[in-house]
């Protein structure tokens, strides 16, 4: 195990406090939750006031609201420990995993919960992940060998393996100003390398207005693509064809918001730059 494997989340403030030795007194907070129907119909906020303990995650609080107050509150969750990737949402305006974000550590009296951007709304805090997965091959692997073990390996194991760090949560898709259509950077000069400047959605415009085939696939698929390149160098041409294609890396304007938002230490912006620097895929 290398030091690089020890996770230090960007947002250590809110993400990972120590457990409270004794059960401390709760504090009463307002949780302002985005509510809506399919496609964002009838969007509004509902306020819930309830006592919150220091050890409560945002997900614990959502569960309590659902069980005790409103069984129709719709949000995704499964593992409760940052492995499945279902619970990403915007918490006080930043993409975070609800299951590892301590409510009180956010330090605000009102905590605002909104769904991810860049993905279609299904209801309340739930988005449709399909557009993200449309650009990640079903058959791309999810396990990789450890580069080299500093220890012995047990009988029958040639090399230790790891599940991929990307938990496919979509936080980077929402944080990216290009994929979420919130880019307010001035239009780019024609970029070095002579690619045409990609069509950008106007700031604040509905991402769905941009022509599908020219929209950015987003950071997560490119991060997955770079992992697959490492696993299958023999498929380099076909993979780079996707990564450098009309929906690929050329849309990236290096905001680096994806790497800042990632709760899993993936740094997709680095993967995007790796792909940009590679030759192949019918380009360069």
């Amino acid at each position: 195990m290398s030091d690089a494997e020890k996770t230090v989340p960007e947002s250590a403030d809110a993400a990972a406090p120590e457990s409270a030795p004794e059960r401390q007194a709760p504090r009463t907070l307002t949780v302002r939750v985005h509510r809506c129907g399919p496609g964002g119909a009838n969007a509004r906020f509902d306020d819930f006031r309830l006592p919150v303990r220091p050890e409560d995650s945002v997900l614990d609080v959502l569960d309590r609201i659902r069980v005790e107050t409103d069984p129709t509150l719709v949000y995704r969750h499964s593992c409760h420990h940052s492995s499945c990737g279902t619970c990403a949402m915007r918490i006080n305006g930043r993409e975070r995993l609800a299951c590892i974000t301590r409510m009180l550590a956010l330090g605000t009296d009102v905590v605002t919960l909104e769904p991810l951007r860049a993905l279609p709304l299904l209801g309340d805090l739930m988005v449709d992940m399909r557009p993200m997965f449309a650009h990640i091959g079903d058959d791309w692997g999810y396990v990789r060998p450890v580069e080299k073990a500093s220890t012995g390996v047990p009988h029958g194991v040639a090399r230790y393996t790891r599940l991929e760090n990307c938990i496919e949560c979509g936080a980077c898709m929402s944080a990216c100003p290009v994929s979420s259509g919130t880019d307010d950077m001035p239009p780019p000069e024609a970029r070095r390398g002579g690619h045409e400047a990609p069509a950008q959605a106007a700031p604040g415009a509905d991402v769905a207005d941009a022509p599908q085939e020219r929209m950015f696939m987003g950071p997560a698929p490119l991060a997955a693509l770079n992992r697959e390149l490492a696993r299958h160098p023999e498929q380099r041409e076909a993979l780079l064809h996707i990564g450098k294609g009309p929906q690929g890396e050329k849309h990236c304007r290096r905001h680096l918001a994806c790497s800042r938002a990632c709760p899993s230490g993936v740094y997709p912006a680095k993967d995007i730059m790796d792909i940009r620097m590679m030759h192949g895929g019918g380009k360069d």
């Binding site: 996770t7 457990s19 593992c79 079903d138 220890t151 790891r162 599940l163």
Partner: protein, 392 residues
């Protein structure tokens, strides 16, 4: 084609849908939350070798080792196949060692002994005082990505799966199940929530895990379910490559399951009647860290990333003096013969990793009851990758 309605959207339900589709049934799943938001998503992620159960629960141990080998083949992309170690730290552990070895041999679980030096060469993070270690074929699995391929494959084969849809009634007429009463929890396009409707079914399977008792009550029948919650703690940093188990009778805080860049410590166990209100007692969190740090001291200083609870769907046993003694095997109840409600089955107990076997047993009974001669094919039928779920 008989219509089978499955209540619950956990791993058991997903595997059952897959099995029933392969045997030619029409299948619908109803889950009141997100799929796998019950125990299935939240467990420890240990692909048990079965050694934990070998001494006191050999039937569960055999189920584990058999399914372990099958799942390694069917869903390798959801696993870190890095093996596991049992470690002995005191005389009591050493006294248990031979019993464990014999029981593993008797249940078909391969083992390999290591000296303390060999063990620490493999896992330098182990406590200095390790007296002996034994390798078993444990592995780590991603709970979501192990269950999702079953659901993806079932859906691609024609099953329908409805999340955020609560079963609020089971329609029984003349001693036979006729269908389900359902409530949609999400808001519809007209701004309405809680819309109710009925779905006809020829058979209904209660696969509601720890909630199976509440669901059975909707049809006026009883299942011996005993919800058994436990606390799990994920710490930052991977303290070992392999799964680490304490070499003693299954107890609390005796398993470390490393996964990606985390280590998941667990678990405690208590009994409850209400699986909806699961507390996460801070003293359990502390105890898990303390007990696991006896095996791997680095657990003690680590930052806690998350602590949470989940409820095991145990089969009630009034004779067990400790909750850990309740068998971890599973059973399928035919309420036609038990309670004169024909067409209703309940499948409870088991482990996250015995989902396929639980499905096989249930689908065998459904075939017998419907007179369909279709053998189980889930052992050898390849599953779609997890991501295919987002295509269907």
């Amino acid at each position: 084609m008989e219509r089978i309605a499955i209540i619950g959207g956990g791993g058991t339900a997903a595997a059952l849908a897959h099995d029933l589709i392969l045997r030619g049934f029409s299948v619908a799943i109803y889950e009141r939350g997100e799929f796998f938001s019950g125990a299935t998503g939240r467990h420890h992620g240990l692909l048990h070798s079965g050694a934990r159960y070998a001494v006191h629960d050999p039937e569960a141990a055999r189920e584990c080792i058999e399914e372990n080998m099958i799942l390694r083949r069917l869903v390798p992309q959801a696993m870190e196949q890095n093996e596991g170690l049992f470690v002995a730290l005191d005389d009591e552990d050493m006294a248990y060692r031979q019993r464990l070895k014999d029981a593993c041999a008797a249940t078909g679980i391969p083992t390999r002994d290591y000296t303390p030096e060999q063990a620490r060469h493999l896992e330098p993070g182990l406590a200095d005082g390790v007296l002996a270690a034994m390798q078993v074929p444990d592995a780590t699995f991603d709970a979501w990505r192990l269950a999702l391929p079953f659901l993806a494959t079932a859906r691609a084969g024609g099953a329908t799966a409805h999340n955020f849809t609560e079963v609020i009634g089971i329609d029984v007429q003349g001693g036979a199940v006729r269908g389900l009463r359902l409530r949609s929890l999400a808001e519809d396009a007209h701004g309405a929530r809680g819309r109710e409707w009925s779905a006809p079914a020829d058979m209904v399977v209660n696969a509601a895990g720890a909630w199976a008792g509440k669901v059975a009550a909707l049809a006026g029948v009883h299942v011996p379910i005993q919800p058994g919650p436990g606390v799990l703690v994920a710490i930052e940093g991977r303290v070992t490559n392999m799964v680490i188990n304490r070499m003693r009778k299954a107890s609390e805080g005796d398993i470390i399951v490393p996964q990606r860049r985390l280590s998941v410590l667990g678990t405690s166990m208590w009994l409850t009647d209400d699986p909806d209100h699961l507390d996460i007692p801070p003293e359990h969190v502390q105890r898990m860290v303390r007990l696991c740090s006896e095996m791997v001291p680095a657990c003690a200083g680590a930052v806690i990333r998350s602590a949470w609870s989940a409820a095991r769907p145990l089969i009630g046993n009034a004779d067990a003096t400790r909750p850990q003694e309740i068998s971890r095997t599973f059973d399928c109840y035919d309420h036609g013969t038990r309670d004169n409600v024909s067409g209703l089955l309940s499948i409870i107990g088991g482990k996250g990793m015995t989902l396929r076997a639980m499905a096989e047993k249930t689908a065998d009974i459904i075939c017998r009851l419907t007179g369909r001669d279709a053998p189980c094919r889930t052992r050898e039928t390849p599953l779609l990758p997890a991501r295919a779920f987002y295509r269907s």
